[in-house]
């Protein structure tokens, strides 16, 4: 298995790893897992109005999964809340050079992040974004 330099860098120092501190109406968490793909991911975000102030993750998975979670957490910080439902998966694939056989794992990360969006929407923190 080949790993890009960006995967190696993020695997060795996964920026965004951990939990969002505190609790409140702007904080949401989402999890997704797939035993067959050997992946579990939890995302926690803190929104302030329509802006994501913090995004953190916990992950069990391969180096690509860890690096991808880190890349997404960084890309979400400062982004509008709607970004939770429109992750730039193509940009992620390019940035990390994710092999085709690993793409299923990225979907689990996407699921965890979407679960955050749903939770924020249900809590009325922001208007639900359709589509």
């Amino acid at each position: 298995m080949d790993y890009s330099a960006e995967v190696e860098r993020r695997f060795d120092a996964p920026a965004g790893a951990g939990n969002v501190s505190g609790e409140g109406p702007g904080i949401a968490a989402g999890e997704a897992e797939d035993k067959v793909l050997n992946v579990w991911v939890r995302f926690e975000v803190q929104a302030d109005g329509d802006t994501i102030r913090e995004a953190r993750f916990r992950v069990y998975g391969c180096p690509h999964t860890i690096a991808a979670a880190s890349w997404i957490a960084e890309s979400l910080r400062g982004a509008p809340v709607s970004a939770l439902e429109r992750l730039d998966i193509d940009g992620l694939k390019r940035a990390l050079n994710v092999p085709k056989e690993k793409l299923g794992k990225l979907l689990r990360i996407e699921d965890a992040v979407r679960a955050c969006a749903e939770q924020l929407g249900a809590a009325g923190t922001r208007p639900r974004v359709d589509g």
Binding site: F11, L37, N38, W40, R58, Y60
Partner: protein
Amino acid sequence: MTTRRRIYLDHAATSPVDPAVSAEMMRHLGADGTFANPSSSHAMGREAARAVERARRVIAARIGADPAGLVFTSGATEANNLAIKGVLAAARPGRRHLVTTRIEHKSVLDAAAAVERYGCDVTYVGCDGSGLVSPDEIERAIRPETSLVSVMHVNNETGMVQPIAAVAEICRAHRVPLHVDAAQSAGKLLLDVRRDGVALCSLTAHKCGGPKGIGALWIRDDVTVVPLLHGGEQQRGLRPGTLPTHQIAGMGKAFELADPAEEGPRLAALRDRLREALERIDGARVNGDPARAAPHILNVAFPGVDGEALRFALREIAVSAGSACMSDNPEASHVLSAMGLTDAAATSSIRFSVGRTTTADEIDAAATRVRDAVERLRRLALGAPAWCSAWRSARLTDDPVFG
């Protein structure tokens, strides 16, 4: 980026060529050396043939075998193929049944699958939770039409030493030849084909300080084998082709240097030092029974970490996976699965193997790096569900990872 010292703990995969071996090989390569074709009748050819015969005697002596029965091959994979396909092809129709085990090396399992496709019957015997094959199960699998039993000496993933003498006794009682894949045991563990009643034995050079690309199949004189290759009368037509004098001489030198009585205890001490250090990691569990394992292999499961991630974290340490964890649907090791490990436990397992160049300092450094990597990956997965974080329940009475 800090570059960390690389540590080689993958001697069961291959070992560096011993300087004495490469020096010996060089003597048979150049114009001023014994480069001539050993099958040639001129003086230079005869000199090369003598070098081949010297090596043959040394290699045969290491397994207590008659040198005349040694057929040089490209390695143990070819030797295993020659043994299985060659014996099954030589068997009378109606007597083409092979008994082997589920924990053999792929070169045996794939050769067995090939003879099945050619119309032979194959019975695969399992192993117990520690990775040992039961001689009684082998006996139950033998039928009147069985023409070969094939059992490895040392399992390449767990290091478990199989009960060859007991299996051989059963084979002798049923008049079935026993083939032993001894690729992992040369230089580490004594095998005496005459004493133990082995009929065919596969060997390789590169796991004990010899070069890659050379191995041998020893065939007892009462066993008939049909060749895989055709094209010459070398090696009694069993394996035609110009004999590679330098490779054979290198293998001979490697086997001369590989003394199990001397090397075995040193390797066992290094392995035990590593095992004791790794067992201090919460939840780490040795796959197999260390008391019945070869001295150079240690296979450990680290529940709560993804195997691919752990190997990547340890990329400056050369170790092997017990699994091919390279796809979206990682396939667990067939050996660890046969031992009853769950996929999660099997894919979190790592094989460490020590060799002649391994030092105690390297063992200590490797153990520290493994502990750090496991702890880092587990911290990253804090809060994960039980199926991927069961290491925390490993101390409880019910251990779901190892079912």
